[in-house]
Amino acid sequence: MAKHHVNTTINGDQTEFLCDTEQTLLDCLRDELGLTGSKEGCSSGDCGACSVTVDGRLVCSCLVLGIEADGAEIGTIEGIAEDDDLHPLQKHFLKEAALQCGICTPGFIVAAKSLLEHNPDPTETEMRFWLAGNLCRCTGYDKIIKAVTSAAAEMRGE
């Protein structure tokens, strides 16, 4: 059987790609489309490094089949910054030194953006539980929580 022809929208752009049934959305983003900002840390949905949004909902792209992207709106780390304007989360991750090695950072930023869309003023506990699916081994999460807090404040116009 031939590969599936997938028509989708990625970060607002009409995109097509071919994939096999077993290929995950993460495989397709990285290997077929060269969007390597989404990282593979576990391929079992336990680390969140591959976090993307599908039709606005936060998911692990390693747990979505590439073919399921057909007709869907995909959002990845590559689409977070508007042109050369960094997203407030990106700015505050830099300002607060919320990354050390940086491998988990794309997933955290995608997940945190989704959090702030649902809840513009989360408590520390809400942040920690929303981000519990994103593993970071470097920072102990402290500076990540601080970065999300200050980004949220900026986005609320405070």
């Binding site: 096999d20 077993e22 990285r30 060269g34 969007l35 390597t36 900002g37 989404s38 990282k39 593979e40 840390g41 576990c42 391929s43 079992s44 336990d46 680390c47 490094a49 990845t76 780390i77 590559e78 977070i80 910054a81 960094l86 989360l89 990106q90 991750f93 830099l94 300002k95 607060e96 030194a97 990354l99 050390q100 090695c101 940086g102 491998i103 988990c104 950072t105 794309p106 930023i109 520390e124 506990t125 942040m127 920690r128 539980f129 981000l131 519990a132 699916g133 994103n134 593993l135 970071c136 081994r137 470097c138 920072t139 102990g140 999460y141 402290d142 500076k143 990540i144 929580i145």
Partner: protein, 764 residues
């Protein structure tokens, strides 16, 4: 402070309290934007035209003789381009050394990279295949037929030391015992450190405490799996792109394991997604090189998470017995520490470092630390933050907690009374130079956390830790660009923001704005040799080379200015980023940029390089305070407050220093509460994934407060000691002491998982 900084004091308006313009500030890291936008290229992100996918075949047995490997069916599969087994690698003799020094046996390393006669742990590589697609490669791997004779296995150090235990290596005869054994065993070496006479010491003690402790092997847990791409050409050249803590290490190890000249291997470091010591050896790179040689195409090999858990890391777990004797007033008179560490499948646990560090923070006239390095059927232990120190500190700092209770003494007061200071003879022999242990205890005592009230089922624990910190062979080059911007070129992968500290130090020495400095990390062909990133050495040792290279640049800048002004070099001073003409008396100046603009007319490129074996690293000490709350009905413990205090010498970029303290504390908390390897009845790993290997997630931890103590290291330009290792030393005992206080029962076995704690509570 050096000469030029003094002049900043006089002339530079924006100098800070610490006397520096840039050191101690918090600029955005130079590689930050790439990393928050997903543009940074990590190990698995490298792509070459015509690239094949490599897949590794791993032993399903904990211990087995390899009878035969039949690759014919795999080779017949369409799309398969190469298969390799141990037959494709040179046999390396026991005495054979790699070029240069490395703390490894290359014979063992080559047998860890590719099993020869025996598979020594579940996941041990036995073959590898390269094919045109991942699916074909996976299929081919499943077609490689390996016949095994399964052997009895052993996982625990004390079990492996028993006379009836299965022996992993016929040629291992325990070193360091008298008489030398005639029989092969799993104990590769006995280490002993100490001073005085412990029997006499314990005889004069008023109070003696002792206890047995166990800690499990734990994985470094970096989120990025090992990944590499190798491309070889018919002239015997190999180019490797990989995620590593040291491109020169990879070059040397690959050349040795594959039997190549070092000059034929070039290694380009990718951004590294965490290492913590786990990426200081090679696993995939030699396989990729040989696969590429046989296939004539580039080959990419990436581990999955299960491979990472089964076949890489961990650091050693093991057993420790600790006995401490003291006078009524708390003065320590004797200490005894006996430890058995699991080295994994090959010799080389860090047990000797455990022996050296355990009692190091204290003045103990009579001490004896004995360590046994024991091979077991687990992956070969790799370095992990302060290798060997955390388990020893867990035993010693827990025993001190018992002692403090017995003496009814405040645990910090007890440590203060016996704390090592400048001139103290360390437990491992030599005398300490300037150190800041007492300062961390002071800071802990005065921290509001230490006096905060506790609620029901809550307990507080305190523990300290020590690490040597190291220097080593390092190189740096500094190039002045035509427009006056500056490139700082080093060859040490940036795991936690070291580019930022290199840039800061260069800006400080040159006297220019940090935004004008671009730190770069290059491959093995573009820099002189530099030892790997690890042991908390980069900001200290490589940073020192950056400073020296900048000095050389300043000399040239002054020479050029002298030429322009027709004066002697000695008449030109370098002040706050400009040459100042002291001769004319008019205070003429030429900025670095102005000199750079005309460099072509005044003698060509301006550039400085420095390479040296940097010594004089300053020992580091830390003290942590931990509060936990336990649920007495379920045995769950929750860390509710945590404070990490450490003498770092000087913090070049305080944010990344704090980050090291917080990250190390979090790893230590995981080690103490939940992380462990779980093996099934056949010695195969059962929890090789993030779901059941339970590293702390965001909701498991509180904010981690830090206090950065700065007792400058006299041997570094800016007083840097090194930061990254110490923070994982105290947490095991800090958490265990806190849980023991909260549950009123001593928890001496890690991890303190809910079933274990509940059993202890019910057993009271």
């Amino acid at each position: 402070m050096g000469k030029e900084e003094k002049q900043f004091d006089e002339l530079s308006p924006n100098v800070q309290a610490n006397g520096y313009r840039v050191v101690g500030t918090r600029p955005v890291r130079p590689d930050g934007i790439e990393k928050v936008t997903g543009k940074a290229n990590f190990g698995a992100d490298c792509e070459l035209p015509g690239m094949l996918t490599g897949v590794v075949v791993r032993s399903p047995h904990a211990h087995a003789k390899i009878l035969s490997i039949d690759t014919t069916r795999a080779m017949k599969l369409k799309g398969v381009k190469a298969v390799v087994t141990s037959a494709d690698f040179p046999e390396i003799g026991p005495k054979q050394r790699g070029a240069g020094e490395a703390p490894v046996s290359f014979r063992d390393m080559s047998r860890n990279v590719m099993a020869r006669d025996k598979a020594l742990y579940d996941g041990h590589t036995v073959a590898a295949v390269a094919a045109t697609t991942p699916a074909i490669a996976e299929k081919a791997a499943s077609l490689i037929e390996v016949k095994y004779k399964v052997l009895p296995y052993v996982l625990d150090a004390r079990e492996a030391m028993k006379s009836k235990a299965p022996v992993l290596h016929k040629d291992v005869f325990t070193k360091g015992v008298d008489p030398r054994p005639k029989k092969a065993s799993n104990v590769t070496q006995r280490f002993e450190f100490g001073m005085g006479d412990i029997d006499a010491g314990f005889a004069e003690a008023d109070v003696i405490v002792d206890h047995d402790f166990t800690a499990q092997c734990v994985h470094q847990g970096y989120i990025e799996p090992h990944a590499c791409v190798a491309n070889t050409t018919q002239d015997g050249m190999a180019t490797v792109w990989c995620s590593t803590q040291g491109q020169f290490m990879v070059r040397n190890y690959c050349a040795t394991v594959c039997g190549m000249d070092i000059s034929k291997v070039r290694v380009l470091p990718a951004e590294i997604g965490g290492g913590f010591g786990g990426k200081t050896v090679v696993y995939l790179e030699p396989l990729a090189i040989v696969l590429s040689q046989k296939a004539g195409k580039p080959v990419k090999v990436v581990m999955n998470r299960e491979d990472v858990f089964r076949a890489t890391g961990p650091t050693s777990g093991g057993h420790a017995y600790c006995r401490i004797g003291a006078k009524k007033d708390g003065t320590l008179v004797a200490g005894e520490l006996t430890m058995e560490y699991e080295a994994g499948a090959f010799a080389g646990s860090p047990v000797h470092l455990g022996c050296m560090t355990g009692f190091a923070p204290y003045v103990i006239p009579n001490s004896k630390s004995v360590g046994f390095d024991v091979v077991v059927n687990r992956p070969k232990a790799a370095a992990y933050r302060a290798p060997g120190a955390p388990v020893a500190a867990f035993a010693v700092e827990s025993a001190l907690d018992l002692l403090a209770k017995k003496l009814n003494m405040d645990p910090i007061a007890l440590r203060e009374k016996n704390a090592a200071t400048e001139g103290t003879k360390a437990a491992y022999g030599p005398k300490f130079q300037k150190i800041g242990y007492v300062e961390t205890l002071e800071a802990a005592k005065n921290h509001p956390h230490y006096s905060a009230p506790l609620g029901p089922n809550q307990g507080r624990g305190v523990a300290s830790g020590f690490w040597f910190n190291i220097g080593g062979e390092s190189s740096a080059a500094v190039h002045v660009n035509e427009d006056g911007t500056v490139e700082v070129v080093t060859a040490n992968p940036d795991i936690g923001g070291s580019r930022a500290s290199m840039g800061i130090m260069a800006a400080e020495v040159l006297g220019i704005d940090v935004s004008r400095v671009k730190p770069l990390i290059t491959d093995t062909a573009s820099s002189a040799y530099s030892a790997l990133t690890g042991g908390s050495r980069v900001t200290f040792a490589v940073g020192q080379m950056v400073c020296v290279a900048c000095d050389k640049v300043i000399v040239q800048l002054r020479e050029r200015a002298a030429k322009i002004w027709d004066v002697e070099v000695d008449d030109v001073e370098w002040v706050a980023g400009s040459a100042v003409n002291r001769k004319s008396g008019k205070g003429e100046t030429l900025s670095l940029a102005e000199i750079a603009n005309v460099a072509g007319k005044t003698g060509g490129p301006i550039s400085g390089q420095s390479s040296s074996d940097v010594q004089g690293a300053g020992p580091g000490f830390g003290t942590h305070i931990c509060d936990v709350e336990v649920d007495p009905e379920t045995g769950r413990s929750t860390v509710i407050r945590y404070t990490a205090i450490q003498d770092v010498g000087t913090a070049i970029h305080p944010s990344y220093v704090e980050g090291q303290l917080q990250g190390g504390a979090a790893q230590g908390i995981g080690w103490a509460l939940n992380e462990e390897y779980i093996y099934d009845a056949n010695g195969c790993l059962e929890n090789g994934g993030f779901l059941d290997y339970r590293m702390p997630v965001a909701s498991d931890l509180p904010m981690i407060d830090t206090v950065v103590v700065e007792v400058p290291n006299p041997n570094h330009r800016f007083g840097v000691r090194g930061v990254g290792e110490v923070p994982i030393v105290p947490p095991l005992a800090a958490v265990a002491n806190a849980v023991s206080a909260a549950a009123d029962v001593r928890m001496a076995d890690l991890p303190i998982s809910p079933p274990r704690l509940l059993a202890a509570i019910d057993g009271k």
